[in-house]
Symmetry: C2
Subunit: 307 residues, 2 copies
């Protein structure tokens, strides 16, 4: 799947992943009202509104981008109905040929991580037949529990040819509280980066490993160091746009081959219509606004990379 | 909710939480076959089997214990049908008067943690009405992202009078890989413990904080230190039983008042019938075997604490 992701990035010339992170504040009123009229102003109605909203965005941008990243929390907050929309969104994105990165940030002791891994990337066996709970191509993983909390994901990735992105240095303001603490003269995030290398060493795709890393666009200098620490790890870079990261901040995350990083934007794309620059599209044309924002983001990155 | 948990622990004289962590290997064949006959040998059938299995255990032990801890991964692995069983289990346990600790180990950047927090402990508002996605009383939280990843949970706890247990030192073999690394002469887990104190300081129950901690029974010496670092944090102690922790290992986790810790056992209780000591119950009496195992665990802890 890492090979497929790299191929799609080359083909679209867009190292971009669109974060499908719906909240009620972002979904146009007309979509909400239609869903509520049909299913009720309740969790089911919201699930339907999320699905319609996502479908509009995916239809408008799928030819421009390699991948999407639904943040499961935004669905999980609406309970089972929200998670139903998550499942439908994944299925639809895959039909459209998109790589799906489930931003689930799971991680637990070995046997429990194994359950998450087979639930999201693999399959469970019931009376000799295989069933898939969720069907992401990649998921994000939290490293706090160490190797035995991450390995079960790696094992499933090897079997299924799927991948993970391990949290190394996150984009949020207080990520440094623990991640930047110095241990033997190196910050914790570098030690985690070293482990990412190790975990990914024996499951390589053509040029990058099945085991990637998450490093926030908001910390470009740390990105520069981590790029060298983990030369074979694809870096998923959140924090561009709404969180403050800019095009020029992204340069250190890429390798000399112009590959090695994929940049996420969520609100900046899916709610572009709420920004001044795209306000002229109007709420009803939120999907076209998202398309315009993707094109602008692609240009911003290309320019920063000097292409 | 922390007050309610403490009261229930005193009343039952059992600082025990039963981990409702179903897997197909643990569920008696007769329950599986009945569910598969009715709903099919598929995810829906498994969801039904999990629910029946859990219900049997809860019915057999609810009067002996203060709380249960369903591990969401064990449900999530079976997709939406598994999570439906999770929701049903929580609802049923609350009807039975049990405190429910959702072992979800979530944690993300601020806005995303807020979504998890309202989804599991709080409510979402839809057209002026409140709806609850999941309805745990407590959840477990991963601290890797720092304060702004944890605070949204604390805020919801304060509002809802619910609680969290933050991962400090986990029970698994490789937990030390990052958690034990020395930072300014103290291991990372102590620094996390200090933060637990800080996060919990302004949301105190009568004697303990809404913000508790997870510290594995497999590391009693670290438990001794952490007990002092976080005097007001209730400690959720996994790792007893199947993972290797014994009664005497639990002593350091308790305060002088005999409170301050609640010990989890999962397989050791719910699949007691598979152990030699309880094999005479037979598979069909798995619930009675679970009850016997709870009584033995209560005795083991009481003896260790010298009661």
């Amino acid at each position: 799947m890492i090979n497929q992701l790299v191929e799609k990035i080359k083909k679209t010339n867009a190292p971009i992943v669109v974060g499908l992170d719906p909240t009620l504040k972002l979904i146009p009123k007309t979509i909400q009202q239609k869903a509520f009229a049909e299913y009720g102003a309740n969790l089911k109605g919201v699930g339907e509104a999320i699905w319609e909203y996502n479908k509009g965005i995916v239809d408008a941008v799928y030819d421009l981008i390699p991948a999407v990243k639904p943040q499961i929390a935004m669905y999980e907050q609406f309970g089972l109905e929200g998670l139903t929309a998550y499942v439908r969104t994944i299925e639809y994105c895959k039909q459209k040929g998109l790589v799906v990165i489930g931003d689930i940030k799971r991680g637990d002791i070995g046997s429990t991580s194994a359950a998450y891994a087979i639930g999201h990337l693999g399959s469970v066996e019931i009376e000799g037949r295989k069933f898939r709970g969720f069907e992401e191509d990649f998921v994000t993983v939290n490293p706090y529990l160490g190797t035995d909390g991450v390995k079960p994901f790696v094992d499933v990735c090897r079997e299924e040819r799927k991948g993970i992105f391990v949290l190394v240095k996150t984009s949020n303001p207080s990520s440094g509280e623990f991640q930047d603490r110095m241990i033997d003269n190196r910050p914790l995030y570098e030690w985690v980066g070293e482990k990412v290398n190790e975990w990914g060493a024996d499951c390589m795709g053509d040029s990058y490993s099945y085991v990637g890393a998450v490093v926030g666009a908001t910390y470009p200098e740390m990105g520069r160091v981590l790029r060298k620490v983990m030369p074979k790890a694809y870096i998923l870079v959140p924090g561009y746009g709404a969180q403050g990261g800019k095009g020029k901040d992204l340069v250190p995350f890429f390798n000399q081959d112009g590959l090695g990083a994929i940049v996420n934007s969520s609100r900046g794309i899916i709610a572009a219509y709420q920004q001044e620059a795209y306000a002229s599209y109007g709420e009803e044309n939120y999907a076209e606004a998202a398309r315009a924002a993707v094109i602008d983001m692609r240009e911003d990155i290309a320019q920063a990379l000097g292409r």
